[in-house]
């Protein structure tokens, strides 16, 4: 059976080119970059090269790039670090949105226990926050604004450039979790006036376990991980050399192919969204146009997300959902609730995220298997019956 991987917002395949460039650093070039002999220095040079590649992709200099174990570590480091800098100046207020990744939200929860206050800005029905809300929320106490570049669940792109300009003008540090954005849409830390940015390798065809933090020159974040002198003494631990090499190659490839991929992917995305919307009682979640090129997120009334995913899996299609059953909690995803969806609708969520490997035939296939699965689940769904009964009486349940 054919498998169609449509969960690229969860993780991506390591590309053949990336893997090929990484492999020597597992076997032949396994030296420790901290070692002084030439063998170690070869590995060190590989890291320096990758740092330059990441910096170039973000429009900055290599001295501002620090490699981490991934996006979550970069988020933790940026937010906890900025909070500590703020606290030293007596500033303990942080601004964020209701749709951040848990790496941000749970880090903020930890800070709240230490006495920080957090303002959660709304995102409205389209899943996009408003710069005027950020402006209104900033006070003399504000030490950090942390707002994601693009959302993982609904794909919406936030007005990062405007928020960056505002924060710079107000003298407030601005961090963005750009894990879903980097390599997919143009990100320029100078132009967007970003102070701190988190990114992850495995969302852009690099391996899992590597990421980076951009920290603007002059911002002295306290260390998150103490130890050796790696990463200019700011992030200890022997470097994940193959992973870092992979990240450098992957980000370079992604930026080089970005325009072409974005054009191709947005056509496929729109084809999939339009096709899926032919199913009755379906809706796109998040803004229809201001979203990541390969990101499709939908809800189908009367069905539950986990059942939908498992039946899609039986047809070889890998996707994800924000239903309670798939989130491992009792509530559906906080993002779907934040855009105003009732629980009953959010339970029927489906996210399909494409990659440059996705073909038009893949979309045709998904659109051929999806409607019968929805029909089948609805045929046995008492909720669907309630929805139809209500409509027969002229009422709309959701």
């Amino acid at each position: 059976m054919r498998m169609i991987y449509a969960d690229n917002a969860a993780t991506t395949a390591v590309s053949a080119h990336v893997l090929q460039e990484m492999l020597p650093y597992y076997s032949e070039q396994y030296g420790n970059p901290s070692s002084l002999y030439a063998f170690g220095q070869t590995a060190h040079r590989a890291i320096t090269k990758a740092r330059g590649q990441v910096a170039a992709a973000l429009g900055t200099t290599e001295r501002e790039i620090y490699f981490t174990s991934g996006g979550s570590e970069a988020d933790n480091w940026a937010i906890k670090g900025a909070a500590a800098l703020g606290k030293a100046k007596g500033k303990t207020h942080i601004i964020t949105t209701t749709i951040e990744h848990h790496a941000v939200l749970h880090t903020l929860d930890a800070l709240k226990k230490e006495g920080f206050t957090v303002t959660y800005l709304p995102v409205y029905e389209n899943g996009i926050c408003r710069v005027e809300d950020v402006a209104a929320a900033i006070t003399d106490e504000t030490c950090l604004v942390t707002i994601m570049y693009a959302n993982n669940e609904i794909g919406t792109i936030q007005p990062i450039g405007e928020i960056g300009a505002l924060c710079r003008q107000k003298g407030v540090l601005f961090h963005t979790d750009a894990v879903q954005a980097v390599g997919h849409i143009p990100v320029d830390v100078q132009k967007d006036q970003i102070d701190l940015l988190s990114l992850s390798g495995h969302k852009l065809h690099a391996p899992k376990g590597v990421g980076a933090l951009y920290c603007r020159k002059g911002i002295r974040l306290p260390n998150l991980i103490e130890g050796g002198a790696q990463e200019s003494g700011r992030r200890a631990g022997t470097e994940n050399v193959p992973g870092i090499v992979g990240l450098g190659v992957a980000i370079t490839d992604a930026v080089a192919a970005m325009d072409e991929n974005a054009k191709k992917l947005s056509v496929l995305r729109d084809k999939l969204l339009d096709g899926a919307l032919q199913i009755s009682h379906s809706r796109v979640t998040g803004d229809r146009t201001h979203r990541l090129p390969g990101h499709c997120s939908l809800c189908f009334e009367g069905v539950e997300g986990e059942s939908l995913l498992l039946l899609l899996d039986a047809k070889g299609v890998c996707g994800s959902s924000g239903s309670a059953c798939t989130s491992g909690s009792l509530d559906p995803s906080h993002v779907l609730l934040a855009i105003g969806l009732p629980h009953e609708v959010a339970h029927g969520s489906l996210r399909l995220t494409l990659s440059d490997d996705t073909t038009p035939e893949d979309i045709d296939y998904i659109l051929s298997v999806l409607p019968p699965i929805i029909d089948r689940l609805r045929a046995m769904s008492p909720l669907w019956e309630h929805i139809l009964e209500a409509e027969a009486q002229g009422k709309k349940l959701y």
């Binding site: 009367g302 539950e304 986990e306 059942s307 509530d331 339970h347 046995m380 909720l383």
Partner: protein, 144 residues
Amino acid sequence: MEYSQKVMEHFTDPHNVGKIEDADGVGEIGNAKCGDIMKMYLKIENDIIVDAKFNTYGCASAIATSSMATDLIKGQPVSEALKLTNKAVVEALDGLPPVKIHCSVLAEQAIKAALADYYTRQGIDPASKGIVIKDDDEIDACSV
């Protein structure tokens, strides 16, 4: 979280899906906000459950437990069906992940609700038969 093969069989090819138009007892349990609703239909002749069908909105384990629970009571006397526990459903499915146990409770409760309806239609107080239907909140621990 991984489902047993038995759960996957009863999810992908559930038994007893549908409605019984002239059912002698119908029970509905759960709510949409929590993400699962089970509706059971029973046909009862001479105190024997001659047919059982269900409609379920919910996750794979909600559908699988509905399928298994209806299998377990079909052909049984009402008195036996009343003794069906969620544990028996879980065991028959070769186990459920801990976070999915509440689905088996829903299945047990849906059958009890259908049997309660059967007694009520005959003018018999279900409580006199020892039938206690739990609140949705209690079953689902759902934050309604």
